[in-house]
Symmetry: C2
Subunit: 229 residues, 2 copies
DNA sequence: TCAAAAGTGTTCTTATTACACCCATGG
DNA sequence: CCATGGGTGTAATAAGAACACTTTTGA
């Protein structure tokens, strides 16, 4: 084997940390590996990148195979490339995270998985490969990003209450927020559209429903507006 | 060729955006390519990752070959993996940036380069591959990071004046800062050690010299301190 | 004595925090 | 009528922004 060939004796994969929110905890969608190595262990969904496929496309493909979803929020975090991270060869992986609405689909284990299941981020067990480390990096990045960009909405249904939004931020940031201050701040950003609708069928005063106003946000961005929770 | 083999018909490289500061502009160290493709064009220093080499190690190696420096600030940004980003095959690259003190070395073109030279970040010409895009990503990340972590000091000599530090921040953040407010803020963080020394040989009132106090910063971090310019 | 950059405080404005009660609904 | 979560305002404090003059040195 020539020297150049040996450089090409390696592969790359993508791993996708799919975040969801069930109203209480921040969740991550894990698969149980259906093939060695680490058969039976929980892991992040991922796959090798096809030779003629962009890495972003590969990440979208992994997401779609597992959830059926297209066009959801997806962001690359970084590459993981320790020599021995994969027991069967040299495989560098590119980590992504996605934000999905848990009600939009039922996870269907893709070819590479025995099963797929939501796990609370706070109580994730030991995962295959270096996936705990990857999850941690994605979580750190999400925490930062959610404060400076209006991406939290990606985890909520199109219509939501302010309390739901607050609980989402509390779950992601792992902190408690003051109800009045949170509402004041989020409403003062002017990117929520008051739908003039209220919850139905709840055993308490029904809350108003809001919607994220993407158009208005885009317009504000052009004027130099910054989102900042 | 089997299907599995075709997955392994690819390589990965690292590219390292080496930032420096000359007192005025933020600089980036570019090489002029000595071999095809893009022979003669300016590019980011980079190299293929050896089969038995961690990607971080590869980035350190590229840096050392070009500068002779070890142990300097180095941070991964992200991977670039469009199918056609490299004209000769499928090559994914992992982008890093480093912060160096320009006075510590003279760049020596490594084997892969005809020459190496500092360029002002603001006036970088068209580079080889997708390197303009990579540079842009690293710059964006540096801008964010420099505000929340005391890494600016990595670009300055061990002893520096507050005005030099301010000019550095102005160059990175592409903004003007108020002298009094900047000094108040940076001194209130208590991570600068006043050396009780002053500049010599300047045709104006000599400035006091300061040093970044890494130990004190580390101690503060443990107490939950956050750096924030 | 001039030019050039160093050094220094105060006021005003804005953002952040802390905090407690009444309201609407379903059971 | 009770339990549950929804909804609201103000005062105190802290952080950020704006701003001008005196000092020290070398030429």
């Amino acid at each position: 084997m020539s020297e150049v060939d040996s450089f090409f004796k390696s592969a790359f994969s993508v791993d996708n940390v799919i975040f969801g929110f069930d109203g209480g905890d921040l969740k991550v969608l894990l698969i149980q590996r259906g093939a060695p190595p680490y058969k039976g262990k929980w892991a992040l969904p991922g796959d090798l990148v096809y030779p003629n496929e962009d890495i972003d496309t590969a990440a979208e493909r992994v997401l779609e195979q597992l959830t059926g979803l297209k066009g959801v929020y997806l962001e690359q975090v970084k590459a993981f490339g320790a020599v021995n991270r994969h027991p069967l060869g040299r495989v560098i992986t590119i980590a992504y995270y996605s934000l999905v609405k848990t009600n939009d689909f039922q996870p269907t284990p893709a070819s590479f998985a025995q099963s797929a299941q939501w796990h609370s981020v706070g109580t994730v067990e030991e995962l295959a490969f270096d996936h705990n480390q990857i999850l941690q990096s994605c979580l750190t990045q999400l925490k930062q990003k959610v404060r400076i960009a209006p991406i939290g909405f990606e985890l909520l249904p199109p219509k939501f209450t302010l309390t739901e939004l607050q609980h989402l931020y509390e779950a992601i940031l792992e902190t408690e927020l003051d109800k009045r201050n949170f509402r004041k701040k989020i409403l003062s950003m002017n990117v929520l559209h008051d739908l003039d609708e209220i919850q139905a069928g709840v055993a308490h005063r029904p809350a108003k429903l809001y919607q994220f106003d993407q158009e208005r946000y885009t317009r504000f961005l052009e004027e130099g507006y910054t989102f900042d929770v």
